[in-house]
Subunit: 337 residues, 2 copies
DNA sequence: ATGAAAGCGCTAACAT
DNA sequence: ATGTTAGCGCTTTCAT
């Protein structure tokens, strides 16, 4: 492979001049520039980013660390990140933690080794260890989707508390008094914030006594199992609030097995849903988080941070959730089953 | 950040000895090893992969170039790749071409700059340009999902011809005689192979005269529009074959709008579907491609290739598709509408 | 507007 | 079993 030196020889200039042409930096006469460009094409020269990064301390690469890229919510987010990163000359390395702190640690180490300029982190555990580790190693971090306790960071997330409040309000307005919420781990802010919004709504309606909260994982199994438990309890819910898309699917599967119709017998609302491109007929009443936009905003913030355009690195961007009313929630049945 | 030199000083050895400990290469006494490891921990040393790559000509990074990571088919594939790559010490850079050759070219250039060791390529255009470009730059390539014309390459794909044949056979067995296939671009092998399988089946049944093929894009819009056109034609299909998941959704949306029930009025089959985790009640009769496994196999092949464990770089791995019979295809209606 | 020298952090090649 | 030397390809720094 040809190097700057080869190009320099062909163009009859010094290597540094070639570098200046490639990077559009410093003063170069039009004439020299053309000579160099011709040589680059002639040789099929491609700059080596390893050498460049080693010398300049900038790799033009970012990392996106998410729970699982397989969830369309994170996939959209990833596209938002990539589209912004790409147009600013950054490549993106994706990492799936599967909500495991061990995997997160492993990746954090790899990212330091790779000298990425910045990391977009959806933290797996309920702690700031990874953020601190990355920052200690001079890597800029923007936390995405979830808050991290005991540490101020740049943060881009959506308004879970408010989205959950509105969703619960909506159920209450439909006459539901016994509403169960099924959510993720109790150490993840998106999971607990949605419970907070739910509680706020119940309280406002004087329904606090009917609170019914199930923690678990952000997966189908949790939705399925918690629904079965709830429906066997003395307080049978007339409505379910699923804290994410996979839980939502689990809830409905369980209800089907119990021969309960949605929304005739039981109402269901949730967070996230699936993209319209995957749905024949959108059915769920949901709070949609603007995942793609969150990815974009986070990437923009991170890049600014890397470029030193931001002094304060504890900026919080909270995007609103969008309530979409569809058919999965209806008025409570008055006739007892 | 500490370097090998810092570690070497603390441990009282030469830098190369530190390198040997990090890479587990050459002979090191247990004693020295422990001294070095202690120094590494003491200083919080993390190796710099840029320097390492520059020197050793190996970056331990791969790239996966797909049409659109937003399609669950490619997302699964990506997880397959990442899981294998990760466990072999490789990081993966993902690139979305959105089926555009321009974007593919742009990424190919970036990947050469980044000195990735290998590329897993789902080629956007119907040509071998990118493969040649990468190979000219000494980067190993495994082509994924689709064949590339006029060039022997390592290839991992699924058996589109056979899957399409079986799916069409199934419709014919149900009594359908007028079957339309709606597929992707006419320069993509997955798109054309599925037409070939479809044709083979019709021919075998003596139904070649009824052939009805719609090319377009692998997206919902194509499914929707082609379905409307087909249903307005003189040969109204009694069954549709959608060549991928998004087309499938488009077909069903169009049929719904025409007040046609699936499968009572019209039968529908397709390729790919969506993961069960996203489906309340799987409905479509489909040919499933083992996307995750394809990603795994391709990554394994690529890594072997990189390690020089394979001489021949035109190895083809074709994985079988799996026909799942569900409810979207039924017997043809005998009473005319 | 251009160039010379040096060095980023690591490991290959060659000692010892 | 360990060390010395050199250099990967680029850009920073300091000339001119």
């Amino acid at each position: 492979m040809p190097t700057v030196l080869d190009v320099a020889k062909v163009a009859g200039v010094a290597p540094i001049t070639v570098s200046r042409v490639i990077n559009n930096s410093g003063y170069i006469s039009q004439e020299t520039k053309e000579k160099v460009e011709a040589a680059i094409i002639e040789l099929g020269y491609v700059p080596n980013t390893l050498a460049r990064g080693l010398r300049s301390k900038r790799t033009n690469s970012l990392a996106l660390v998410v729970a699982d890229i397989t969830n369309p919510y994170f996939t959209s987010m990833a596209r938002g990140v990539e589209d912004v990163a790409g147009s600013s000359g950054y490549s993106v390395i994706y990492c799936n933690t599967d909500e495991s702190e061990t995997k997160e640690d492993k990746y954090a180490n790899i990212l330091v080794q790779r000298q990425v300029d910045g990391v977009l982190l959806v933290p797996a555990g309920g702690n700031a260890r990874t953020v601190k580790y990355l920052e200690n190693n001079k890597i800029d971090v923007v936390v995405l989707d979830r808050r991290v306790p005991e540490k101020n960071t740049n943060l881009v997330c959506s308004d879970s508390v408010n989205g959950a409040k509105e969703l619960t309000d909506l159920l209450i307005k439909l006459g539901h008094q016994q509403i169960a919420i099924i959510t993720g781990p109790d150490n993840v802010s998106t999971s607990t914030d949605r419970v907070v919004g739910y509680r706020n709504s119940l309280e406002e309606a004087g329904l606090s006594a009917n609170e019914q909260v199930y923690f678990g994982g952000f997966n189908q199994q949790t939705g399925y199992e918690s629904t079965r438990i709830a429906m066997r309890s003395s307080q049978k819910p007339t409505a379910f609030f699923a804290a994410n898309n996979f839980i939502l699917i689990g809830v409905v599967k369980a209800l089907r097995e119990l021969n309960l119709k949605v929304p005739e017998d039981v109402s269901v609302v949730g967070f996230d849903d699936f993209p319209e491109s995957m749905l024949i007929e959108p059915f769920f009443t949901v709070a949609i988080q603007p995942a793609y936009e969150m990815g974009q905003k986070a990437a923009e913030l991170l890049i600014k941070q890397i470029n030193g355009e931001i002094v304060d690195n504890s900026q919080t961007i909270i995007l609103p959730t969008d309530i979409i009313v569809r058919r999965s929630a209806g008025p409570v049945r008055n006739n007892p089953r």
